[in-house]
């Protein structure tokens, strides 16, 4: 989230990295914290959290599994994807890179992306920040030559610099035997792995069973939009995780942690399993807008306990409107997220003679049994409305004229809701057709129960 003040991260009283605003004030990496604060008095300084960095890296790795099953981690800051098997599916290297870049941006990460025929070469390009996509092994050596020796991340960098070697090209020009003797076999192996002359096995990253990710807000927030903005990053990460597992989920839990109050839990329940971040975000938006927060939010955690298999939808050939035709679960979820689960329902028949129990609520879309009933009105009153009686004739905006009946309904003596009624179809003075009944009791009161419409 962009912050108004310059921001920097420090480690051991030195600036590690700073944002553009801080850089504009003259801050740079390696500067002592005291000097940085003198240059930028409003500087928001945070200590480096390596644990959080590792978490983030693991999260990115899980998200990136949607592009390839072969993902490896190179701590502290590198994720390696073996994409040669996925090129055809995604439509080429450029497409995959664009997709990764877009997803990383949506999760709020800045990243250097590079591709090369060998893992080590790709990691070197990425570490130098060079946007370099090399698919052809023949071009690799030329590109590698230009790299500085800092990519080796070796303690011997200074020693090499002192003999006048400043780039990979200089290193390759030196005799291999001497190089290995003086600086160790490791250096030579690294070079060979980068050039593809030596195998470079990596431990495969294993996708966790459950999804759990946390995002710390840069500043405490109460606004639904700000919370949604941060939650979206988690949801994009979730989408990648689910895609990698070829799965979807029906239940997400967002927990918003506060300074002192217990965390606010927001559960999103779905009718059908889904993995699209945009849809999750839509549901989260409605819920966040409705939730009353006890305090400002400091961090948001997203948890998904249960996932279920979900096939990858085929790429859309037609427009989205057509694709959404059968997508009624989405609509119901959207309505429920704002109006509440109970406010949106379907209906079903129930084998009970009592009219108020013959029609029950059901989940929309669920298959239902068919039953035959006598003539029934389209509208039923939630509770029967007592009618006045005038000269033994029930009245509702004037006297009612009974057209048909009685249909005797007597049932329910066994469950405490005993019903004994005679139902009639009646015509009101204004020509409305009503469904009225008379209690089969000595008082024999009349009630309006339905409207034929």
């Amino acid at each position: 989230m962009p912050s108004p003040e310059p921001c920097a991260i420090a480690e051991r009283q030195r600036i590690l990295v700073c944002d553009a605003k801080a850089a504009a004030r003259g801050l740079h990496a390696g500067m002592p914290v005291a000097a940085a604060l003198a240059l930028a008095p409003g500087l928001r300084l945070r200590e480096r959290e390596t644990a959080a960095e590792t978490e983030a890296l693991l999260g990115i790795a899980a998200w990136a599994m949607q592009c390839t099953p072969n993902v490896a981690l190179d701590f502290p800051d590198l994720v390696l994807l073996e994409v040669s098997g996925s090129l055809k599916l995604f439509g080429g290297l450029g497409e995959i890179v664009a997709r990764l870049r877009q997803g990383l941006a949506a999760m709020g990460y800045g990243a250097h992306l590079a591709a090369a025929p060998t893992a080590r070469a790709a990691s070197w390009f990425a570490r130098t920040g060079k946007h370099c996509l090399i698919a052809d092994a023949a071009l690799l050596e030329d590109e590698l030559r230009a790299l500085p020796l800092s990519v080796l991340q070796s303690a011997k960098e200074a020693a090499l610099a002192s003999i006048g070697a400043g780039s990979i090209a200089d290193l390759l020009a030196l005799p291999r035997g001497g190089l290995a003797r003086r600086y160790g076999q490791g250096l030579l192996d690294a070079l060979d792995q980068a050039l593809g002359r030596l195998p470079d096995p990596r431990g495969a990253f294993v996708l966790p069973e459950k999804f759990c990710a946390v995002i710390e807000l840069p500043a405490e927030a109460t606004q639904a939009e700000a919370l949604l903005f941060a939650s979206k990053r988690l949801l994009v990460q979730l989408e990648g995780f689910l895609a990698a597992r070829a799965a979807g989920t029906r239940r997400l839990v967002l927990s918003l942690s506060h300074r002192t109050a217990p965390a606010t839990r927001i559960e999103l329940g779905l009718v059908a399993a889904c993995r699209e971040a945009a849809h999750f975000a839509q549901l989260a938006r409605e819920r966040l807008q409705q939730t009353a927060l006890p305090e400002a939010v400091r961090a948001i955690a997203l948890q998904v306990q249960a996932i279920e298999p979900l096939e990858h939808g085929s790429r859309n050939l037609f427009s989205d409107a057509l694709r959404e035709e059968g997508n009624w679960p989405r609509l119901i979820e959207r309505l429920r997220s704002r109006l509440g689960v109970a406010a949106v329902h379907g209906m079903a028949l129930c084998a009970d003679h009592r009219p108020e129990r013959a029609s029950i609520r059901a989940e929309p879309g669920a298959k239902q049994l068919a039953l035959d009933f006598e003539l029934r009105p389209f509208w039923l009153l939630a509770r029967p409305q007592a009618l006045e009686e005038n000269a033994a004739v029930p009245c509702h905006h004037g006297p009612l004229k009974l057209l048909a009946g009685p249909e005797r309904i007597e049932s329910g003596w066994w469950d405490g809701a005993d019903t004994a009624r005679d139902y009639f179809v009646a015509r009101a003075a204004n020509d409305a057709l009503l469904w009225v009944y008379r209690e089969r009791s000595p008082a024999g009161a009349w009630y309006l129960h339905g409207i034929f419409s």
Partner: protein, 245 residues
């Protein structure tokens, strides 16, 4: 020249003021031939808002939609009922041939929620029909619903009080319902095409046997029960009978 006039009449690009507008998409047959004949597209319009203004509840405002809804539900399309004034009653809907599993009922507390839900349902393309009972709705909001309906291409019906007839509407169809000599009079106040001066009479609609006729299973023989005889009727001398055909 009669041949020229005949040629002009059959030309698809020429529309005469006296004719009904030709709509791009055919409507959903209402199930009532007299009504279909007067509706552009030969039925309830799809992808546009329709308004039904019943004089009061219980005169047949749902029954005139019954066959269309049954047809949509049979095609597997969902029908959303947004903020209905009473509980839609499952046995009657089932008897009208409307598949219950395709019905979604949305209850709302606030007017703004009803309009929001209607807009979502109309625009989502997931519904085949949207019926809404807005309590208080202005032109701007109607316009929004009309735009949403154009996106969704579904049957969109708003039920409004008769007083709304005085206000302008972006809806393409507006029908006022009134009882007339025991029947139902449909006055088409607005449609695509020339206005209709006389109301369409659907005489059978308000009588109970007509309600039974809309369902294939039920036949209903009704004899008018004299109100003075109602005590006797209650005592068991049944002068009307319900029969399962």
């Amino acid at each position: 020249m009669p041949s020229l006039a005949a040629g002009l009449d059959s030309h698809p690009g020429i529309w005469r003021g006296s004719q009904l507008a030709r709509t791009g998409s055919p409507g959903i047959a209402s199930g009532f031939a007299a009504l279909d004949a007067e509706l552009p597209g030969g039925g309830w319009p799809c992808g546009a808002l329709s308004e039904i203004l019943p004089q009061h509840e219980g005169i047949g405002e749902l029954r005139i939609l019954g066959p269309a809804l049954a047809q949509l539900a049979t095609q597997g399309k969902f029908i959303a009922w947004i903020a209905p004034p009473y509980l839609p009653y499952a046995p009657a809907l089932a008897a009208a041939g409307i598949a219950l599993e395709r019905i979604v009922i949305v209850k709302t507390v606030k007017d703004s929620d009803s309009l929001w839900a209607a807009e979502q349902a109309l625009g989502s393309a997931a519904c085949g029909g949207v019926l809404a009972w807005p309590r208080d709705i202005g032109y701007t909001q109607l316009r929004r619903l009309q735009l949403a309906a154009e996106n969704g291409r579904c049957l969109a019906v708003l039920f409004r009080p008769t007083q709304a007839a005085r206000e302008p509407t972006p809806a393409v169809l507006r029908i006022a319902l009134a009882t007339s000599a025991g029947g139902l009079a449909l006055s088409i106040l607005k449609r695509r095409g020339a206005p209709l001066s006389r109301p369409i009479l659907l005489p059978a609609l308000s009588a109970p046997h007509a309600a039974a006729a809309s369902s294939p299973h039920l036949r209903f023989d009704a004899h008018v029960v004299d109100s003075t005889a109602s005590a006797a009727a209650a005592a068991g001398s049944i002068s009307a009978r319900l029969a399962l055909a």
